[in-house]
Amino acid sequence: MTIPGGKTLPVAGPPARPLDSMPSGSADFFTTRLDNLVAWARKNSLWPLPFGTACCAIEYMSIVSSHYDLARFGAEVVRFSPRQADLLIVAGTVVDKLAPVLRKIYDQMPEPKWVISMGVCASSGGFYRAYHVVQGIDEIVPVDVYVPGCPPTPEELMFGILKLQESIQSGRNSRDDRSARFAASLPAVPSP
C-alpha cells in the first residue's frame, strides 16, 4: 500500500500490489482469522472497573479526565459494576481487610477479563511492608500487567493499557493460555 510521499507500507493478508493497478472492487475485502477480529474488537473496547482505594485512584481520575483523556485508547467506559466490566484496574493499596472484597469482585466479572495492577502497592505492597497490607494483589487475583510507580504517572498507566492491548491482540497470556501453560508445567502423573 502506497501512501503520499511514495513510501510503501506492508499490508497483511493478500500480497501487496499498487492500489491503482487493482481492478475495481477487488480491494473491498480482506481475510483474517475470526479470533483475530474478536481480539481486535476486545482490545479497543475495554470497559474498566477502577478498584480505586488510595492515591493511585486520584491519578486514575486524572487519566480519565480531559487533560489525558483515556478515551483515545478506547478504554473510557468506566463501569463500577463488575458484571459490566472486563478490565479490573486495581489502583492503590489493598489491605487484608479489603482482600476478600477484591476477590469477590474479580469472581463476579464475566470472562474474558484482564487485571492491571496500578502502582507498587497493588503490585508488591510497596513500602508498606506491614501487618495489615497485602504484599501484592497477585496473592489474590491473577495479574496481566503490572504498572510500577507511586503513583504511576498517567503516561505510565496508558503504556500499561497499550501493553495489555498488545497482549490481547496477540492472544498470548489469555486465561486459556495461562491454564494450558500451568497444566503443562505440572509433573506427569504416573499411571498406576
Binding site: S66, H132, T153
Partner: protein, 575 residues
C-alpha cells in the same frame, strides 16, 4: 514535683495547674518542660477530670482533638507500661491542653469518656484496636482499623511489624442492625442496604450499612479500616527523614501540606528555623495544595450528585498545579518535597512566572463552576438544608476545618496560632452559619479564593534568591559538591544517612491547618534516629465518625451528597 519545675511553667500551664490543684488535690496537675500544659491522672480519676476540663468555666475544653495510646515498653523514665494521651481544644478560650492517663498492667482498663466528648467514640475504639485498652462503658468497643480476624494489638512495641493475619469473607463485619428485627405496626417492611467498600460514591474504601424505610434512612453504621496501611507502625521502623514519603500518602489530595506539617513538628523539636525563602515557598505550595484538595472534594462531590461538567472544570486547574509541582520536585501527586529544615531542592527559575500564570487562570475555572452551581435549582434541592450540622454538634463531634467553619465556628489554625508568615498576609476566614452541604460548598469555594490571595501576597515578598533550607548540617543534607570536597561535610552526610537526625528526647504536639481541618502530629522521641511514636491527628476521622449520625432521617441520595461534602480521604482516615 519540685518548686523549680513549677516555676518553669508557662502562664497558661500555671493557670491550669492552679485551677486543677484546687479541684483535685491528688492529680498531678501539670508537667513542666513540655510544649503544652499537661495533666496527669490515673484511670479512676479520669472521668471526673474530663468533666471538669469540659465544664469548668475557666477550662471549657469542649473540642476533643485527639485521643491516642502510647506504649512505654522501650521508653525510659515512664512510671507505667501504657498511657492514654488526650489533646483538647477550647473553642471559647482558644487554647490547647493535654491530659495523660497513666495505665498500669498488661491489659489496662479505664472508664470511657464518650458521654463527655461524643467524639471520643471512634478514638477509643482505635486505642482498643491498636493497644488493647479496655474502655469500660463504651457503647461499641470493637476493632475499627484492623479486620475482625486480627489477633493481638498492632501498635504495642512487642508486636512484630510484619505479622499478618488472614481475613476471609466470613470475617467481614456484619453490623448488628442487619440482624435486628425492625418492624412496627405503622411501618412497612424495612430494608437493609450495604454501600461499599467498592462503591463509586464511597470513594473506594468506606462502607455504610443503612436500614431504610422506603427512601429514608432509619439507622446507619459505617465501617472503616479498608485502607489501614499501618502508617504509625511504619514510622516507628524508619528514620525521621524516611517518614516523609509516608506522610505524603496520608491525605494524598494535598500531600505537600502533610509533608510540611510533619517537617515543622520535627523542626520545632530540634529548634531549627527555616530561612525566609524556604518558609514562603512552603506557604505558596501549601496553599496551592489546599486549592487542589478543595477541587477534588467539590469536583467528586458534584459528580456523585450528577454534575459531571464541574468535575472537568475543576480538574483542569488541578492538572495545571500538578505541572508546577512536577517542575519543582519531579512528582505530581505524592511529592516528598519537604525536608526537615526546608525543602529538598530549590524551585525552578521560572517558578514565580508559573505561579502568576496560575493565579490568572484558576479564578476563571472557579467562576465557571460557581455559575453552574450557585443558583442552580437542582443543586439547591440536593444541598440546601441537607446534612445540616449545628454549631454545638460540630464541636461535640470534634469537627475542624471547613466543616467546622461551615457550622459557624471561625477556627482556623492559620489565624488562631499563625505560623510561617500567615500573620503578615491580609486574608479572611470564611464562616457560614447553616452547616449544611451548601454551606460547606460555599466555604470551600471562598477558601480557594483566599488561598489565591495569600499566594499573591507571598509572591510579592518572596526573596528572589537565598537558601531554601537551614544551614544546620546535623539536620539538613550538606550540598553534594561539598560532600565530595570537604571531609567534615562527608561525615555529616554519612551520619545523616546512616543514623538519621538526632532529635532530642521528648514529646510534642504541633497543629497546623490542613486542607480538611486541624492536621496535627504528636511525636515522641527517645533521642534515637527513629521516631518512637508518631500519631497524626487525622482531620476527617471525627467527620466520618459523625457521618452515621448526620444521615439518619435523610434519604440515601442525600447521604451520598453529604459524604462528598465532608471530604473523607481514606489514606488519612485509616492511616
Amino acid at each position: 514535683m519540685s518548686e523549680a519545675s513549677v516555676s518553669a511553667l508557662s502562664a497558661p500551664a500555671e493557670r491550669v495547674r492552679a485551677r486543677l490543684a484546687g479541684a483535685f488535690p491528688d492529680t498531678r496537675a501539670s508537667v513542666a518542660g513540655l510544649d503544652l500544659p499537661t495533666i496527669e491522672t490515673d484511670p479512676a480519676g479520669w472521668p471526673a477530670v474530663a468533666r471538669f476540663l469540659r465544664d469548668d468555666p475557666e477550662m471549657r475544653f469542649d473540642l476533643l482533638v485527639d485521643l491516642l495510646g502510647v506504649d512505654n515498653l522501650r521508653r525510659r523514665g515512664r512510671p507505667t507500661r501504657f498511657e492514654l494521651v488526650v489533646h483538647l481544644y477550647s473553642t471559647v478560650r482558644d487554647e490547647h491542653v493535654r491530659a495523660r492517663v497513666l495505665l498500669d498492667g498488661e491489659n489496662p482498663e479505664l472508664p470511657s469518656v464518650v458521654d463527655v466528648w461524643p467524639a471520643a467514640n471512634w478514638f477509643e475504639r482505635e486505642a482498643f484496636d491498636l493497644f488493647g485498652f479496655r474502655f469500660a462503658g463504651h457503647p461499641n468497643l470493637r476493632r475499627i482499623l484492623c479486620h475482625q480476624a486480627f489477633v493481638g494489638h498492632a501498635l504495642r512495641k512487642d508486636y512484630p511489624p510484619g505479622q499478618r493475619w488472614m481475613c476471609t469473607e466470613e470475617d467481614l463485619y456484619v453490623p448488628g442492625l442487619v440482624a435486628r428485627e425492625h418492624e412496627e405496626a405503622d411501618q412497612f417492611e424495612t430494608v437493609v442496604v450495604n454501600l461499599g467498600p467498592s462503591h463509586p460514591a464511597t470513594h473506594g474504601t468506606l462502607r455504610i450499612v443503612a436500614r431504610l424505610d422506603g427512601e429514608q434512612i432509619l439507622e446507619a453504621e459505617s465501617e472503616i479500616g479498608y485502607l489501614h496501611r499501618c502508617f504509625e507502625k511504619m514510622a516507628e521502623t524508619h528514620t525521621w527523614n524516611q517518614v516523609i514519603p509516608y506522610t505524603d500518602r496520608l491525605n494524598y489530595c494535598s500531600a505537600f501540606l502533610n509533608n510540611v506539617a510533619y517537617c515543622k513538628t520535627v523542626e520545632r523539636m530540634l529548634g531549627v528555623e527555616v530561612p525566609e525563602r524556604g518558609a514562603l515557598l512552603r506557604t505558596i505550595l501549601s496553599e496551592f495544595s489546599r486549592i487542589m484538595d478543595h477541587c477534588v472534594c467539590i469536583g467528586a462531590n458534584l459528580v456523585d450528585t450528577g454534575a459531571l461538567t464541574n468535575f472537568w472544570y475543576l480538574f483542569q486547574p488541578r492538572e495545571e498545579i500538578y505541572g508546577l509541582i512536577e517542575a519543582c520536585c519531579g512528582a505530581r501527586l505524592t511529592v516528598s518535597y519537604g525536608r526537615v529544615g526546608g525543602l529538598s531542592r530549590d524551585v525552578p527559575a521560572d517558578f514565580v512566572d508559573r505561579c502568576r500564570s496560575l493565579l490568572r487562570s484558576i479564578p476563571r475555572f472557579l467562576d465557571d463552576v460557581d455559575k453552574l452551581v450557585k443558583r442552580n435549582r437542582i443543586v439547591w434541592d440536593r444541598f440546601r438544608g441537607v446534612g445540616a450540622v449545628t454549631r454545638e454538634q460540630a464541636i461535640a463531634w470534634g469537627f475542624t476545618g471547613p466543616c467546622l467553619r461551615a457550622s459557624g465556628v471561625g477556627y482556623d489554625v492559620r489565624k488562631a496560632r499563625p505560623y510561617d508568615f500567615y500573620d503578615r498576609f491580609d486574608w479572611d476566614v470564611p464562616v457560614h452559619r447553616d452547616g449544611d452541604n451548601y454551606a460547606r460548598y460555599l466555604v470551600r469555594m471562598e477558601e480557594m479564593r483566599q488561598s489565591l490571595s495569600i499566594i499573591r501576597q507571598a509572591l510579592e515578598i518572596l526573596p528572589s534568591s537565598g537558601p531554601v533550607s537551614a544551614a544546620d548540617w546535623h539536620v539538613v543534607l550538606p550540598p553534594k559538591d561539598r560532600v565530595y570536597h570537604d571531609m567534615e561535610s562527608l561525615i555529616y552526610h554519612f551520619k545523616w544517612v546512616m543514623e538519621g537526625i538526632p532529635v532530642p528526647e521528648g514529646e510534642r504536639y504541633e497543629w497546623f491547618e490542613g486542607a480538611n481541618g486541624e492536621l496535627g502530629f504528636y511525636v515522641v522521641s527517645t533521642g534515637g534516629g527513629s521516631p518512637y511514636r508518631i500519631k497524626p491527628r487525622p482531620a476527617c476521622f471525627p467527620l466520618m465518625a459523625a457521618f452515621e449520625k448526620i444521615i439518619v432521617g435523610s434519604r440515601v441520595s442525600d447521604a451520598i451528597a453529604t459524604l462528598g461534602t465532608l471530604n473523607i480521604i481514606a489514606g488519612e482516615l485509616d492511616r
